[in-house]
């Protein structure tokens, strides 16, 4: 089985780290490929993924991805996952930057693949099958699923995977043309993110527990 772990190119978020750790926990015997997509430039997150024990990294670096929104990133990452023959795609639940968690759904939509969020544990079952734990609908659940699937991994997932910090894998850089994607398909749609405003709220230091509670409870 090939496991693709899709990460942010610039810096690994806490949920992406959990996804990488969960992938490494599912190995041995499986290939793990870290994939990132973005505008041209370095991808330190992939270097970190290689140091964390991932065997191969793919950086889809293309000027056309500057300001690309989630549908475009989903399309590109799905194409890269297909290229490496991944049947299991792992991501973090959401990035530390925007925190929307919408790119994983776009990848699953483009593949297409089963999409499940907030995985806490996973174990390989029979051929092309996986057993996962998650919380849903007020219950803790254990599910068995058939691959292909895209699973997002919770930040606080209990995953145990160790790495010696030495990078032995290789990084490959691709363009969207290498993946057979036309630049017109990934044209920027910045309106999907919205405009940015500075928060006007400022922190107050309470002199007592009573003041803290009064300020906390004010509607």
């Amino acid at each position: 089985m090939t496991i693709a772990v899709c990460v942010e190119p610039k810096a690994l978020g806490s949920a992406s780290r959990a996804a990488l750790a969960l992938a490494r926990g599912l190995a041995p015997g499986h290939d793990i490929v870290a994939i990132a997509a973005g505008p041209a430039g370095p991808a330190p997150a992939l270097t970190e993924a290689l140091r964390a024990g991932v065997g191969r990294a793919i950086h889809v670096a293309d000027a056309a991805l500057d300001q690309a929104e989630f549908p475009a990133l989903g399309l590109v990452l799905a194409a890269a996952a297909r290229r490496v023959g991944a049947s299991l795609i792992l991501t973090g639940t959401s990035s530390d930057q925007e925190g929307r968690g919408v790119v994983p759904a776009a990848i699953a939509h483009s593949l297409p693949a089963l999409f499940i969020t907030g995985i806490e544990e996973a174990a390989a079952a029979a051929e092309s099958r996986l057993i996962v734990r998650l919380r849903a609908g007020g219950s803790r659940r254990r599910l068995e699923l058939q691959l292909p699937a895209l699973l997002t991994v919770a930040r606080h997932a209990r995953v145990v995977a160790t790495a010696d910090g030495k990078s032995t894998g290789s990084e490959e850089t691709l363009t969207i043309a290498d993946l057979g994607i036309d630049a017109a398909c990934v044209s920027p749609r910045p309106g999907l993110v919205g405009t940015l405003e500075r928060s006007k709220r400022r922190m107050t230091v309470a002199k007592s527990a009573d003041e803290l509670v009064r300020r906390w409870l004010v509607e």
Binding site: S14, G74, L114, S139, L212, R215, W216
Partner: protein
């Protein structure tokens, strides 16, 4: 006329508090925009009495119409694989300006795939704002109310604002859990039964289902987080004096996992219990009790009280008790 669609999560045959709050928020903005509120209620096999009871609660919360689907395929965990294509099919029919999902894991599970399927923008933990009378779109045209969605970026606490009119595409959002408010709607509301629409067959089996000890957290309008290892007796004393709808929990693994998808209106974090990512909407009121100098940097904290140790928890318990007594006397 514009439509607003709300997904109603049902647990144990009852709509969740977060879902009823989402319906109430839909009612609030729909009344300003002149829109109709459609509540989607997916169920496993259910009797007429159960459906009527659910419909009454959702109608009282503010829905104009209820679209219900009872099908064995909807039993079990509310996952995109089971519910997503049905929700998208209803969205295809209604073409809603705005689709709302309640706080909790359901929003993270169903919201992003719905946005991907329908080409919508997605805003998690959003606050809905109506701006009155600003920006008449054309010369001579009466200014109309505008819907803004505001959400908080976890990285720096700044806000992203989406303007429904400028976006010219549908919006999908998840909300926080607010305090219960007087029911704005009516119990007698029209219920339309819909057929189930599923996606491609998927081999997904539930092997085990057990109660989640932290399930109350994603339905709570307030959360008090105490340090891991806090004695149960102390937690109970906080529960006894906390405002209604407030969950009190130690920052253990189960709590932190639930907080990843929760979004309370009020969050009080005591001492070293602070999670890395704050589960906050733009107007979530965040208070912190800590004497660490750097404790406030990453959180977007509104109020901090410099205290630590057992005295910090005891101080909060006493202050909440005094406030409760003062409220009773009023």
């Amino acid at each position: 006329m514009a439509n607003v669609m709300v997904y109603v999560e049902v647990r144990g045959g009852v709509s969740t508090p977060a879902s009823r709050f989402a319906v109430g928020e839909a009612r609030r903005v729909a009344s300003e925009l002149g829109a109709t509120v459609y509540a989607l209620v997916p169920l496993g096999p259910a009797g007429q009495d159960g459906i009527e009871a659910l419909a009454a609660a959702v109608g009282e919360a503010g829905a104009d119409r209820i679209l219900c689907c009872c099908d064995p395929a909807l039993e079990g965990p509310p996952l995109d694989a089971r519910v997503g294509v049905w929700v998208a099919s209803v969205a295809e029919r209604l073409r809603p300006l705005l689709t709302l999902l309640p706080s909790g894991g359901i929003g993270a599970e169903l919201g992003p795939p719905l946005a991907a399927r329908t080409g919508a923008a997605f805003a998690p933990r959003a606050a809905l704002e109506i701006v009155q009378g600003a920006r008449a779109s054309e010369a001579g045209e009466q200014p109309r109310p505008r819907l803004l969605l505001r959400r908080r970026r976890p990285s720096d606490g700044s806000h992203r604002v989406l303007d429904a009119r400028e976006l010219e595409r549908p919006l999908v959002a998840t909300l926080h859990v607010g305090s219960a408010r007087p029911a704005p709607g009516q119990a007698a509301v029209e219920v339309e039964m819909l057929s189930y629409v599923g996606g491609p067959p998927c081999d997904l089996r539930e092997l085990e289902c057990a109660p989640d000890p932290a399930a109350e957290i994603d339905q709570a309008s307030g959360v008090i987080l105490v340090p891991r290892g806090t004695p149960q007796q102390v937690i109970e004393s906080l529960r006894a004096v906390a405002p209604g709808g407030t969950a009190v929990a130690a920052a253990d693994d189960a709590t932190l996992l639930s907080l990843e998808t929760a979004c309370p209106s009020r969050l009080l974090v005591i001492a070293d219990a602070a999670p890395e990512a704050l589960p906050a909407a733009p107007h979530t009121r965040v208070a912190l009790v800590s004497d660490a100098s750097d404790a406030t940097k990453a959180l977007g904290v509104d109020t901090v009280w410099r205290a630590s140790g057992a005295g910090a928890v005891a101080g909060v318990v006493q202050a909440l008790a005094r406030r409760g007594r003062a409220k009773e006397m009023r």
